[in-house]
């Protein structure tokens, strides 16, 4: 029997799989699909994951989407912003961040478009991307896969890519660990040369479509198909974690 599900739900499950084996670390998830995925991971295969309310508290139960500790849930720890940077440096954290631009080696830009001295478009700034990428595993979530995001060269290296970390070596490379890039079309990982390659395409998507939406050549020789959600995962997503359907606003259709 074929299960009916949306592309957003396939993305949530692919993102959830990226938290497998993370252990007892703080999950940092930017965006609706990553936020849903980390709750799904916590409720299924990764019960030790540590979840924040996005403000100053860790929650002993997965917090409702978009709600702070003050509104619901049980607080298990106090973590004001100043402590977040201590956690980053301790390495007991894993991120799934967004990317305005991403190149073949996983260099990520969220700072600005154009020359940083006088940008054509100011974006949100490097934020915590430099520190995250040299301190702990970092994955990326791109809800609109296009050649404008997947570029030959990013305008500002906010998140450090494999080529830059390897060239710098030492402290820059010691804990540098890029995992996967998940988009609404596919899941990428990195080959031995540090370059992005297609790990799987989502059901209904072709390798050609993914290549067409990617601004550089990408290896697809080992690409498979992204797995479908299980019935239990769909129930948790639809009834428990995201009954409001925020996932569909990020990935329509």
């Amino acid at each position: 029997m074929t299960m009916q599900c949306t592309r957003a739900e396939v993305c949530v499950v692919a993102a959830s799989d990226s938290w497998r084996g993370a252990g007892e670390v703080l999950a940092h998830a930017v965006g609706a699909v990553p936020a849903i995925s980390v709750r799904l991971a916590r409720l299924t295969h990764s019960p030790d994951l540590v979840l924040s309310d996005g403000e100053a508290f860790f929650m002993s139960d997965p917090p409702p989407l978009g709600k702070t500790a003050a509104e619901a849930g049980t607080v298990e720890a106090w973590t004001p912003y100043r402590e977040v940077f201590d956690i980053v440096q301790s390495g007991r954290r894993r991120s799934m961040m967004g990317a305005s631009q991403l190149d073949r080696y996983g260099n990520q830009n969220i700072s600005c478009i154009g020359d940083w001295r006088r940008p054509a478009r100011q974006l949100i700034g490097v934020r915590g991307a430099p520190g995250n990428t040299v301190n702990h595993r970092t994955n990326y979530w791109v809800p609109k896969h296009s050649p404008r995001v997947f570029v030959e060269q990013v305008d500002v290296v906010s998140g450090v890519g494999n080529d830059r970390a390897r060239a710098a070596g030492g402290a820059a490379a010691r804990f540098h660990d890029l995992g996967v890039v998940i988009t609404e079309l596919a899941v990428f990982d990195y080959g031995p040369d540090g370059a992005l390659r297609i790990r799987s395409v989502h059901p209904g998507v072709t390798v050609e479509e993914v290549r067409h939406a990617t601004g550089f050549a990408v290896d697809a020789s080992t690409a498979t198909e992204t797995r479908m959600p299980t019935a239990e995962e769909l129930r948790l997503i639809r009834e428990v974690i995201d009954p409001m359907g925020l996932r569909a606003r990020e990935v329509p259709g």
Binding site: E55, V88, I124, V126, P130, G131, V157, V160, G170, A171
Partner: protein, 278 residues
């Protein structure tokens, strides 16, 4: 002291640190008081929000050193974005953790702190003065984040006594104690000045964040963080922030916004905010 007395102490060319975080517990009444002066060429050090946006718009800023400039519920301050895209300000853009390391170094009066954050990223390109430092114990090399030392720090807290002992009542102290220590002079505004013996009536010892030896002046400014949040006294005024952000994108709308809210003193601002709510 009064807002006017505070504002009179600020001179053009100074380096001014501003506490809070994004659009949270910003010393907005102190910022509004600065808007009413003729100071300019300021270097602003801030985990920025509308404080940075308003000062950029008013032409008071030469350089901003920041970890980010965000309105939280709105990703970017439109005045800051416009200043960047027109090239009217210089910047020192840091990773957020680097920024905190710079505050800590300044608070400790040391010239830098080593950090892994920034290595191999374009933060080093965007800040050509940044240097690395080799560990004397092994082969590691780190970013030597320079101290973000400031002439003046501005912070806003929920309560303080008249001597400058400051108290936060919300869930997050942000970095206001570090700003106070990182500056030659710190001005602390608060929702209410209370007698010292009342500070612990309804709050734990741990809420006493800032010590009077780091504070030069205390200014009582009820609703002085508006329109940023100052929990538990009040949440962010999201509707007002949306008006601010929308007006900032359009010259005629901005002129009207500035006329209504920014051309008078703090009492007129607060009264205009009240009238709007009705």
């Amino acid at each position: 002291m009064s807002l006017e007395d505070f504002a009179a102490t600020i001179e053009s060319g100074m380096t001014v640190g501003i506490g809070g975080w994004g659009s949270r517990r910003k010393p907005m009444a102190l910022v509004r008081a600065l808007l009413r002066t003729d100071v300019k060429d300021l270097t602003i050090i801030s985990l920025g929000g509308p404080d940075v946006g308003l000062l950029c718009d008013a032409g008071k800023v030469r350089r901003v050193a920041y970890g980010f400039v965000s309105l939280d519920s709105i990703p970017l301050d439109p005045h800051f974005r416009a200043a960047r895209e027109s090239g009217s300000i210089e910047i020192s853009e840091y990773d957020e953790g680097m920024f905190v390391a710079g505050l800590r170094a300044a608070a400790q009066r040391i010239s830098f702190l080593p950090t892994r954050a920034g290595l191999a990223s374009d933060v080093l390109t965007m800040n050509p003065d940044l240097r690395t430092v080799a560990s004397p114990y092994d082969d590691e090399v780190y970013v030597a984040m320079p101290a973000l030392r400031m002439d003046v720090a501005l912070i806003h807290l929920n309560r303080a006594d008249a001597a400058g002992n400051g108290q936060y009542l919300g869930p997050d102290p942000y970095f206001d104690d570090l700003y106070a220590m990182a500056a030659d002079r710190c001005y602390l505004s608060c929702e209410e000045i209370v007698p010292t013996e009342r500070l612990l009536d309804d709050a734990p010892f741990q809420s006493l964040l800032v010590k009077r030896m780091y504070v030069t002046g205390v200014i009582e400014t009820p609703r002085g963080a508006h329109f940023t949040s100052c929990v538990p006294d009040y949440d962010r005024d999201e509707r007002f922030q949306r008006e601010y952000a929308a007006a900032a994108k359009e010259p005629a709308a901005w002129e009207s916004f500035a006329e209504t809210y920014l051309r008078g003193d703090e009492a007129r601002y607060q009264s205009a905010v009240d009238q709007r709510s009705n």
